[in-house]
C-alpha cells in the first residue's frame, strides 16, 4: 500500500479532475449480465478503466464437506486480481490485500442473500479483476451482486458500492487509481439500497470528521446512481429473454433462470480478453 502524498495537482483551476470529471461525477459504468456460459450466474462491469468479471456457482455441494453448515449455505467470496491487471505484473498468488478484500466483500454481500434457504450447500462468488484502475472492491461488490441475481439466488436486495475520498483538500466521488495513490483519503462504502444500511465501510487516509461525514454521504449518493445501472442491466438481459420466449410465456423476469442469451454471450467474450 502506498502512502498518500500530495504532489502534483489533482484538481485543475477550473475544478476538474485528472480525467476531466467534476468533483461529484462518477466514471462511465457499463454492466452486462450473464457473460459466462458455465457459471450459474455471471456479470461483467466496466467502471472507468476497471474491467471486472464476476461468477457465481451454487447453491451446490460444499468442498471440503466438513465446512457445510447445518442451518444455512456456506457463502464464500474470492476477490482476485489477474497478473496483467496492474501497471507492474502482480504475483498471481493471493496477496494479503486480496485476502482482506475477499473477507470484507463477503461480509458486505452475504447479508443480502437468503442463506437460510439452502442449508448444507455452498455458494461461491468469484471476482476477477482483469484490469484495475482504482475502486476495484466497489466495482467488484456491485458486479458480484448482479451475478448473484443472474444465478437466480433469492436476494433481499442488490448490494451496491461506491467510494468517495479526498484529493487536493476537496471531497470527491469515485477515485481513480491516480487519485487513490496521490490523494489524501479513500472511503469505500457499500449499501443495501432498499434499507439504506451500510454493509461495507473502510477508509484510509486523513480526514476531519466534517470531511468524513461529507464523503460518506457523497459515496451514498454515488451508490444510488450505480444501483440504477445494476437494475437496468438486469432488466435488459431478462427483458430480452422475455421477448425470445414470447411475452406471454414468461411471467416474472426475475424467476427465469438458466438460459443465457446466445447473442450477449458472444458479444462479451469477443469484447474482453480473458486469457485462461
Amino acid at each position: 500500500m502506498l502512502s498518500k502524498k500530495k504532489s502534483e495537482k489533482l484538481i485543475s483551476d477550473e475544478g476538474l479532475r485528472v480525467d476531466g470529471r467534476k468533483l461529484d461525477e462518477l466514471r462511465p459504468i457499463k454492466i452486462e449480465v450473464g457473460t459466462l456460459e458455465k457459471a450459474d450466474g455471471s456479470a461483467y462491469i466496466e467502471w472507468g478503466r476497471n474491467k471486472i468479471m464476476a461468477a457465481v456457482y451454487g447453491p451446490r455441494e460444499v468442498h471440503p464437506r466438513h465446512l457445510a453448515l447445518p442451518d444455512r449455505t456456506l457463502f464464500r467470496c474470492r476477490y482476485h486480481m489477474a497478473p496483467f491487471s496492474t501497471e507492474e505484473r502482480k504475483n498471481p498468488a493471493p496477496s494479503r490485500r486480496e485476502i482482506e478484500l475477499s473477507k470484507v466483500i463477503r461480509e458486505a454481500v452475504e447479508p443480502s442473500v437468503f442463506t437460510e434457504l439452502f442449508p448444507r450447500t455452498g455458494i461461491d462468488v468469484f471476482i476477477e479483476v482483469l484490469q484495475s484502475d482504482g475502486g476495484t472492491r466497489c466495482a467488484g461488490i456491485t458486479v458480484a451482486s448482479v451475478a448473484l441475481a443472474d444465478a437466480g439466488i433469492p436476494l433481499r436486495d442488490l448490494v451496491v458500492a461506491c467510494a468517495a475520498g479526498k484529493i487536493d483538500d476537496q471531497v470527491v466521488l469515485d477515485l481513480n487509481d491516480i487519485e487513490d495513490q496521490k490523494g489524501q483519503a479513500d472511503l469505500p462504502v457499500a449499501i443495501s439500497p432498499r434499507t439504506g444500511e451500510v454493509t461495507l465501510l473502510q477508509m484510509d487516509g486523513n480526514m476531519s470528521s466534517e470531511e468524513y461525514e461529507k464523503a460518506l454521504y457523497l459515496a451514498l449518493e454515488g451508490c444510488k446512481q450505480v444501483h440504477a445501472m445494476q437494475r437496468e442491466a438486469l432488466k435488459k438481459k431478462y427483458a430480452t429473454e422475455q421477448e425470445v420466449a414470447g411475452e406471454a410465456a414468461v411471467g416474472e423476469a426475475e424467476t427465469s433462470e438458466g438460459e443465457v442469451s446466445e447473442a450477449e454471450n458472444q458479444h462479451e467474450s469477443e469484447g474482453e480478453a480473458t486469457n485462461e
Binding site: 500500500m1 502506498l2 502512502s3 498518500k4 494479503r96 490485500r97 485476502i99 482482506e100 475477499s102 473477507k103 470484507v104 461480509e107 452475504e110 447479508p111 483519503a185 472511503l187 443495501s192 434499507t195 439504506g196 444500511e197 451500510v198 454493509t199 461495507l200 465501510l201 473502510q202 477508509m203 484510509d204 487516509g205 486523513n206 480526514m207 476531519s208 470528521s209 468524513y212 461525514e213 460518506l216 454521504y217 451514498l220
Partner: protein, 270 residues
C-alpha cells in the same frame, strides 16, 4: 468467532439484548467504557521496542524490530513499515497454527493502516541511501489471550511499542553505514489510536468483549490521530450500520481517543 465457554451463544445473546435496553452490559460496564487497560513496555530486551497491553482479559504483545533493507521503488526515500499479526493457538481454542488466515491478515492491515495513514513514523528519517538502503520497521503483533477487541489492543500495543522503541544512532560515512553506541528513539511525529464499537440493538458499545462479539454482528473500528482526524475505518462482520450511526461512531471514537491518549501516553516520554 464462536463462543468457547460452553454456554450457548443464543442464551448470552438474549441476555445481552435484554440488558442493552437498560443501557447495561453483561460485565457491568457503561456503554462507552473500556475494560481495564494495563500496559507494560520494554519487556522484550532483544526487540527494539515492545509493549504488552491487557484490555480486560485480552492480552496482546507487540515487538518492534528495526532492520535494514531496500525501499519500495515508488518511495525510494522512505523507510518501510511492515505490520504482521499472529493469532497464536495458545490464545484461543478457535485459533489454529499455520500461516495467517483472514482474521489475522485483517487485524494486521487495519493496524497498519492507522500507523501508515497517520504518518506516525517519519519514514523520511529512516532513509539511509535513497533508493538503496532504508530502515524497515517490523511491527509484530502477538495475540496471547483472546477475549475480544483485538483491533484496539493491538493498535494500542503497537503505538506504545513504537513510542518506546530505541535504535542505535547511525551515520553514513563514505557510503558505509556505521552505528554508534548511543541509542535514539524512532522518529515519531504523530500518534494514532483505534476505537472499536459494536452495535447491540440500536446502541453502540465501546470495546466489545468476546461474549459481546459472539452475540453481535456489526462492528466498526475507527483510527484517530493527535489532531483528531480520522485515519482509518473498518467495518467488520456481516452486520450493517445506518449512516447516522457511523457519524455517531466517529464522534465517540474522537472522544475515546483523547481519553486513551491521556491514560497511556501520560507516563511515557516519547
Amino acid at each position: 468467532m464462536s463462543d468457547s465457554y460452553g454456554i450457548p451463544v443464543s442464551i448470552k445473546t438474549k441476555r445481552i439484548d435484554e440488558l442493552i435496553v437498560q443501557d447495561k452490559r453483561l460485565d457491568g460496564r457503561g456503554l462507552l467504557d473500556y475494560r481495564e487497560i494495563k500496559v507494560e513496555t520494554g519487556l522484550i530486551g532483544k526487540a527494539n521496542g515492545s509493549a504488552l497491553v491487557s484490555l480486560g482479559n485480552t492480552k496482546v504483545l507487540v515487538g518492534i524490530k528495526i532492520e535494514t533493507g531496500t525501499p519500495f521503488p515508488d518511495t525510494p526515500e522512505d523507510g518501510v513499515l511492515t505490520v504482521n499479526a499472529e493469532l497464536v493457538p495458545m490464545a484461543s481454542p478457535s485459533f489454529e497454527a499455520g500461516p495467517p488466515r483472514e482474521e489475522g491478515i485483517e487485524l494486521a492491515r487495519v493496524v497498519d493502516r492507522g500507523i501508515r495513514e497517520s504518518k506516525a513514523i517519519d519514514t523520511k528519517k529512516l532513509c539511509i541511501v535513497p533508493g538503496k538502503l532504508v530502515f524497515i520497521t517490523f511491527v509484530d503483533i502477538y495475540v496471547l489471550d483472546f477475549d475480544g477487541n483485538l483491533f484496539d489492543a493491538s493498535a494500542l500495543a503497537s503505538m506504545l511499542a513504537l513510542t518506546t522503541a530505541k535504535m542505535k544512532e547511525f551515520s553514513l560515512e563514505d557510503g558505509e553505514l556505521s552505528y554508534k553506541d548511543s541509542l535514539i528513539s524512532l522518529p515519531l511525529q504523530n500518534h494514532v489510536f483505534e476505537v472499536t464499537m459494536a452495535k447491540i440493538g440500536d446502541k453502540l458499545v465501546v470495546d466489545p468483549s468476546l461474549e459481546e462479539e459472539s452475540a453481535i454482528n456489526a462492528q466498526i473500528t475507527i483510527a484517530v490521530d493527535d489532531a483528531g482526524n480520522i485515519c482509518a475505518t473498518q467495518k467488520s462482520k456481516t452486520g450493517s450500520f445506518m449512516p447516522q450511526e457511523i457519524i455517531e461512531a466517529v464522534k465517540i471514537a474522537k472522544n475515546k481517543v483523547i481519553e486513551l491518549r491521556e491514560k497511556v501516553l501520560g507516563g511515557l516520554t516519547p
